[in-house]
Symmetry: C2
Subunit: 122 residues, 2 copies
DNA sequence: TAACAAATAGGAATCATTCCTGTTTATAAT
DNA sequence: ATTATAAACAGGAATGATTCCTATTTGTTA
């Protein structure tokens, strides 16, 4: 079995990596259409899932909508419940994963800290 | 304006408070039907949202499905990505909210730490 | 007991995401 | 370069959790 690099996947990865705005699949889809007019929603979702599984991007669960993050360095998030904006922040120490793994009997894959509240725009 | 206590809301709150299993709306709905056969899904969702807004229960965003937590004391969660189980754990200090609020310019409402991985059942 | 706003039941609508299928395309072997 | 083939795609249908709608019921106050 071999791995194929489609133009679509390359474009989707570039789009996610090119912003700090933690975009939704729909935002990414619309951005992609401007460059590749015939790209389909299904392709965007399939590739986002694949890139996430592959560890090339991160997923943020924002209620009913998923958001994607091109920054795969450990960091935390502020989530505004009024405008749904997501901001980066660093609260937890970088090595918390290993510390926690020593404490508990659970195969830790990812630790995510989300701070919900109201941002300065309101 | 006055507040009404329907039997439905009382039952739903009791059900959420009676378990440590972090149930979904559907699980709660089915449990409720056994006692109040004609209760509707809409009623379950409406009351869960209301109870959450009111601070009587907590909501956990688990991808596409919401889960509900009768324990409103600050605590953290282990989430198994294989069986979707949610376990309670205490990692963050109780007073982190205030510490963080002092550090950042953001009106902090809630801080949630979720540790994803694989639980002992696998 | 009467008046009325709050809440409900039941079902339709929404909407993000996944699934399906016939077609296209990137890669490896010839 | 040509060919074989599995990977990936486009387009659209299906899914499923949640919300919305409305006629009816019910809890509370006076
Ligand atoms: Mn981020
Ligand atoms: Mn809990
Ligand atoms: Zn905001
Ligand atoms: Zn598990």
């Amino acid at each position: 079995m071999y791995k194929r690099y489609s133009k679509q996947r390359t474009l989707i990865l570039e789009i996610v990596k090119s912003t700090h705005s933690h975009p939704s699949a729909d935002w990414i889809y619309n951005k992609a259409r401007k460059i590749m007019t015939k790209i389909s929603r299904g392709t965007v979702y399939r590739n986002l899932n694949q890139l996430a599984e592959n560890g090339e991007i991160n997923v943020i669960k924002d209620g009913d909508v998923m958001k994607y993050d091109g920054n795969i360095l450990r960091h935390d998030h502020l989530l505004c419940t009024k405008c749904d904006s997501v901001y980066d922040i660093n609260i937890l120490p970088k090595d918390l994963d290993k510390k926690v793994q020593r404490l508990i009997n659970f195969d830790v894959k990812q630790i995510s800290l989300t701070i919900e509240g109201i941002c300065q725009n309101h």
